[in-house]
């Protein structure tokens, strides 16, 4: 047991997995000597050599496309996209190649690979570095989409992602990379992909969220606790597939649901969760399902991003609205 930040937990996981399985190759921009712009791969090239930790030219489509080709021929590539906003460049290789190889080949080939990317806002990056685009991949069958919200989860989920036999998009909240430390076991453990985590039990209202906004939502929930409002917080952990059972159970229990995410509202993952609950638990609802999300604009310049992102105030306002019913 050691206290680790999320970035340290990720680094440790990559190391452990590479020791275990020499089919694992890391590739991406500046992941070698530089250890990645966030140091996720720090020391790994020194430990495993430049054949296993490979700096690539600046070409995201090639990074993902080459990983598909490697995976189909027996390797287990873990590719890094330097910032998630650059994923648009690799969209075809993500959504019509990696995601569909199993399908296209009638199940005879597969693409066991992980695409890691830092994402989410609040750290004052330049444009297109902070966009939360996970919703695009929720709508791309064949991919799994995973996002940890803590160092412990990061290790368990990334281990599971690497051992998965289908392509996994693994999104790492930049804001949480070094936000706090947590006990992270050295030994192997897996957190099953597709299972949500109820990080706080509650009776009056459910908030569903994932990744960067989990700590924020927990904090807000705890504040309301003091006013005797009991909020259940569900950390989705995996948005594709969505853990229907957990979501529906919580919605049925509390009858009031809010979804919090940084992605822009319209057409985002929150819409799917709301639709799902509507479809399967409508008559349990006492209030409309609200979404507290990024606004329907491109991710803004740093000086206003904090006002653009979901924050405690907007969440609390929605809680009040929902409780008013």
């Amino acid at each position: 047991m050691t206290l680790l930040t999320m970035i340290e937990a990720i680094n440790l996981t990559l190391k452990k997995e590479m020791e275990r399985d020499e089919r694992i190759i890391l590739l991406g921009e500046d992941i070698g000597k530089n250890g990645g712009v966030f140091r996720a791969t720090d020391g790994l090239q020194a430990a495993f050599g430049p054949e296993r930790v490979v700096d690539t030219p600046i070409a995201e489509s090639a990074i993902v496309g080459a990983a598909v080709g490697m995976a189909a021929r027996g390797l287990r590539p873990v590719a890094e996209i330097q910032f998630f906003g650059f994923i648009y460049e690799a969209m075809d290789q993500m959504a019509s190649q990696a995601a569909r190889l199993r399908f296209r080949s009638g199940g005879r080939l597969s693409a066991p690979m992980v695409i890691r990317a830092p994402f989410g806002g609040g750290v004052k990056t330049p444009e297109l570095h902070s966009d939360s685009l996970e919703g695009l991949f929720l709508h791309s069958p064949g991919l799994k989409v995973v996002m940890p919200s803590s160092p412990y989860d990061a290790k368990g989920l990334l281990t599971a992602a690497i051992r998965e036999n289908d392509p996994v998009l693994f999104l790492e909240p930049m804001k949480l990379y070094r936000a706090f430390k947590q006990e992270v076991p050295e030994h192997d453990y897996l957190i099953e992909l597709g299972k949500a985590n109820v990080v706080k039990q509650g009776e009056d209202l459910t908030i569903i969220t994932w990744g960067p906004t989990v700590p924020l939502v927990r904090q807000v929930a705890e504040q309301w606790e003091q006013q005797n409002i009991s909020i259940e917080v569900v950390d989705l952990r995996t948005i594709s597939p969505i853990d229907e059972d957990t979501v529906l159970e919580s919605a049925k229990k509390t009858g009031r649901v809010i979804i919090v995410h940084e992605a822009v509202k319209t057409g985002g993952p929150g819409a799917e969760i709301s639709a799902l609950i509507n479809e399967k638990a409508l008559f349990y609802l006492s209030a409309p399902i609200l979404r507290v999300t990024g606004f329907d604009t491109p991710y803004p310049v740093p000086s206003v991003e904090d006002d653009w992102l979901p924050n405690a105030q907007r969440i609390s306002q929605s809680i009040q609205e929902v409780l008013a019913h």
């Binding site: 080709g69 021929r73 027996g74 390797l75 019509s96 199993r102 199940g107 005879r108 998965e164 036999n165």
Partner: protein, 354 residues
């Protein structure tokens, strides 16, 4: 001191001229190899004509004919070692057959059947529809081979039009940087649907694009199966040593782009005439006749055999049980999600409801 546009003059490798006459000295190739190349070409031609006919009869779906490109495809694929891999686009049936892809399944592909990309163990990637995307998969395959020391070359097949896509560029660059065992085999068939190669790029040849990537390249007469075969052998040797190669095989798409296309909208009959005179089968056939290792009797026999092979493959395809929509749900992930299970289930209940 300036680099001037198209300053590099390119010479095209040719062994046989249009009339099947040897130019220069005879390369080291056995009679069996020569005959085998031709037999494959006959089979490819017969397959292509049948597929076209079947499409016109509505028995298969959209099909992208390969007539005119037999030498390029057969010559190149015949040079492969069994452990090598082909990453094809949609027009590479002939190359795939040579490398072991079952013709039956190619028919199933044109029939929109789920088994249409089953290589049954042959080292052939599924047909790629997205232009040039397969180049990157070939890069990854070559990379895996290098890493695992499999001594396997990955060959990406693409067309002249495919060289315009970003994925082609990124793949070429990666192959160069990592010195991958790869061949980019471009069939420059002069057309990308309605766009002639002269409007596809301002580069006079496709092969000179190798210069941008510190890569070796060679242009070959793509209608000369002997030239293609020998050149591909050289390329594979280099690639096996970790020197990626770009080959431009200059050839011609004699037919429409696909069965959905009407080439008379955009190209002259005279263009087609010129190139029909350079037909790849004619050339090698004349050469074999001249060499005395082929004759009309063998010719007739071979065509009959090819017809039979194609008929049999099509019969098998027709007799394959139809795909069922319910199979789809098991092909998305190794283990289906509850959502997929529910959707699959709903189809069953739907039948009840019906």
């Amino acid at each position: 001191m300036w680099i001037e546009p198209n300053e590099r003059k390119v010479e095209r490798i040719q062994f046989l001229n249009e009339n099947g006459k040897l130019i220069g000295s005879m390369p080291e190739v056995s009679d069996e190899e020569l005959v085998s190349l031709y037999k494959w070409m006959v089979l490819a031609r017969v397959f292509d004509q049948r597929a076209l006919k079947l499409q016109r009869q509505g028995r298969i779906g959209t099909y992208a004919p390969l007539s005119g490109q037999e030498a390029a495809q057969i010559g190149s694929a015949s040079a492969l070692a069994p452990q090598d891999w082909i990453y094809p686009s949609y027009r590479e049936g002939a190359a795939c057959f040579v490398h072991g892809f079952p013709m039956k399944n190619f028919f199933l592909y044109t029939m929109g059947h789920l088994s249409g990309s089953d290589a049954e163990g042959a080292h052939v990637f599924p047909v790629q529809i997205i232009i040039a995307a397969q180049c990157l998969h070939a890069v990854g395959g070559a990379w895996a081979s290098k890493y695992k020391k499999e001594n396997s070359v990955s060959v990406a097949y693409l067309g002249d039009g495919g060289t315009s896509e970003g994925d082609f560029h990124e793949a070429m660059n990666f192959a160069g940087v990592y010195q991958l065992p790869m061949v980019f085999f471009v069939q420059n068939n002069q057309w990308a649907i309605s766009v002639p190669v002269g409007k596809q790029t301002s580069s006079k040849t496709i092969v000179q694009k190798a210069l941008a990537y510190g890569m070796a390249g060679v242009q070959v007469d793509g209608n000369d199966v002997l030239a293609v075969y020998m050149t591909m052998k050289q390329a594979l040797d280099r690639a096996r040593k970790g020197e990626p190669v770009l080959i431009e095989a200059v050839t011609y798409r004699q037919g429409p782009h696909t069965t959905a296309d009407d080439p008379t909208k955009y190209r002259d009959g005279s263009d087609v005439e010129t190139w029909l005179a350079k037909d790849p089968l004619k050339r090698i056939k004349l050469f074999l006749f001249e060499k005395g290792i082929w004759n009309e009797a063998l010719e007739e026999q071979e065509y009959a055999k090819a017809e039979h092979t194609v008929s049999e493959a099509f019969e098998q395809a027709v007799n394959t049980p139809k795909s069922n929509v319910k199979e789809l749900f098991d092909l998305v992930y190794e283990q289906k999600s509850s959502q997929l299970a529910e959707q699959q289930q709903s189809l069953a209940s739907e039948e009840v409801w019906k």
